[in-house]
């Protein structure tokens, strides 16, 4: 059987429960050898040291762990690290371009679209996809398609304003 678990090395008892993941994170190749149980969120935070992606619930119910996999927003807490083998992952650390911050990062600061900041990486990653998805046409659409990202500080109005601002600027 073809699998990606079995690599060239002979699996020992311990190795059976590890998996090698070859991925690209924020444009740079990455190789992780992790416990098969490791979620993408854990691999990013604990293995890759990219702690910008946050754990707010670990149950797929808050959106704080939102990252992009092959350009689509997903919840990294419910995806196994093994599942991004061969895929492209983008986190908040990779949101800014070489020329400076992403327009959303600037708009979030300008509109005070966060308070404690804990949900912010997830909000930003979600919003970046929202723009690409063409779902920022109205405030109602922005609110609906950003509802997978909880903000307990309640910065929603300012998040909408920031996204609206960037959406208009890129029209």
């Amino acid at each position: 059987m073809k699998t990606t678990r079995t690599t060239a090395r002979a699996p020992s008892a311990q190795d059976q429960y590890t998996v090698d993941v070859f991925t690209v994170v924020n444009g740079a190749p990455a190789q992780w050898r992790v416990d098969t149980r490791t979620t993408l969120l854990e691999a990013l935070r604990d293995t890759a040291g990219l702690t910008g992606t946050k754990r707010g619930c670990d149950q797929g119910a808050c959106g704080a762990c939102t990252v992009h996999v092959d350009g689509q927003r997903v919840l990294s807490c419910l995806m196994l690290a093994a599942q991004v083998d061969g895929r492209q992952v983008t986190t908040v650390e990779g949101l800014a371009g070489e020329l400076g911050p992403h327009p959303l990062q600037e708009a979030f600061m300008r509109h005070d679209a966060f308070q404690c900041g804990f949900c912010t990486p997830g909000q930003l990653m979600s919003a970046a996809c929202l723009l690409r998805e063409g779902r920022a046409g109205s405030d109602a659409d922005i609110r609906e398609y950003m509802s997978g990202n909880l903000c307990r500080c309640g910065a929603y109005d300012n998040i909408v304003a920031a996204i609206r601002d960037v959406a208009k600027g890129t029209d």
């Binding site: 429960y17 998996v19 959106g63 997903v74 419910l78 979600s126 997978g148 990202n149």
Partner: protein, 329 residues
């Protein structure tokens, strides 16, 4: 989470064989239900066979139906133009479910197999759960039940099947194609799920090693229209308290033909045949709409926390019928 072996085959036959060969193995697709359950310790497979790289993604549009690869995501299916035109209520149900992030992960096959959200089922420290452990009892019946079912349930289990998209899918009588250790077979969704009152610990007719490879969705005939109404506390990102999927074909000011299914109320997605029969060939009549809803809910089993759902489901259906027949009045 319990340690597990991880395989990622690239062919359907390999995947089926891998699971069939190991009683403690299971398939893993989008993970939105399974990874969560593994963290909760409710589900403890020894081996996960990741099927996300199998060639089961994509939508084939035929003249009378859609053939949807089981790994097609909810967002992908919702984006299909034919779904918007000919299966409006499927699209609406998809987009009213979960969040964009989850819809990008969750597959259509996995959605049909999602496990109940019951907090007693999902907490292994609660011992009484007939669904998790046969003959142990049902903690939900005696405790806090709001997001629970009232149809197809009894005092042994009130677990809700919380899917939105399964509601219109059962209304249009979609079917699934299954590959398994004993070969391939087709199962109509109307025969796919097992009601909790028919055996709380069995959720569907699949056997170990059976893999849904495709969902075939009949297109509504030209001239039909359809819609999905979801009622919930929050405006978004919440399971339904009640929902109604209605497809109908008007014949002047008469309802020519109609399909109805209800969500948020059943241990399985609930086809409302009684209501269909009462309304087919009748004039638009709000009183009759309500009577049709009452007929569906007549067999409800309620506990204090779910009693309101009977009335709410009737109202949800009535409102959706009113909305959909309004243009004809």
């Amino acid at each position: 989470m319990r340690a597990f072996l991880y395989d990622r085959p690239t062919a359907v036959g390999e995947a089926v064989a891998a699971v069939a060969a190991d009683p403690q193995a299971a398939f893993l697709a989008g993970g939105t239900t399974q990874v969560d359950l593994m963290k909760d310790g409710v589900w403890t497979p020894d081996r996960l066979v990741d099927i996300t790289r199998l060639p089961l993604r994509g939508i084939l549009v035929e003249s009378q139906q859609l053939k949807v690869g089981a790994l097609t995501t909810m967002e992908q299916l919702a984006a299909e133009p034919v779904v918007e035109q000919r299966l409006t209520f499927v699209r609406e149900a998809l987009l009213l479910g979960a969040s964009v992030q989850l819809r990008n992960m969750a597959t259509i096959g996995g959605n049909l197999l999602q496990r109940t959200r019951c907090r007693y089922f999902r907490d292994p420290t609660v011992s009484a759960c007939n669904r998790r452990s046969p003959d142990s009892g049902c903690a939900a019946v005696d405790n806090v039940a709001r997001m629970h079912a009232v149809l197809g349930v009894d005092e042994r289990c009130i677990a809700l099947h919380a899917s939105d998209v399964a509601v219109p899918l059962i209304a249009v009588e979609a079917s699934v194609l299954v590959d398994g250790p004993s070969g391939q077979r087709r199962i109509p969704l109307t025969e796919f799920w097992v009601r909790a009152d028919e055996g709380p610990s069995i959720e569907n007719v699949l056997g170990h090693g059976d893999l849904i490879t495709e969902i075939d969705i009949p297109l509504l005939p030209q001239g039909w229209r359809s819609g999905y109404l979801k009622v919930r506390d929050r405006a978004s990102y919440e399971f339904a308290l009640t929902s109604a999927a209605v497809a109908l074909q008007m014949d002047g000011d008469m309802i020519g033909d109609i399909r109805i299914a209800l969500g948020g109320v059943g241990s399985v997605p609930w086809r409302a045949r009684e209501a269909e029969e009462m309304l087919r060939g009748t004039h638009v009549d709000p009183v009759r709409f309500e009577q049709a809803g009452r007929a569906v809910m007549a067999s409800a089993f309620t506990v204090p926390g779910t009693a309101f759902k009977v009335d709410l489901a009737v109202r949800t259906l009535s409102r959706q019928l009113l909305t959909m027949t309004e243009a004809s009045r």
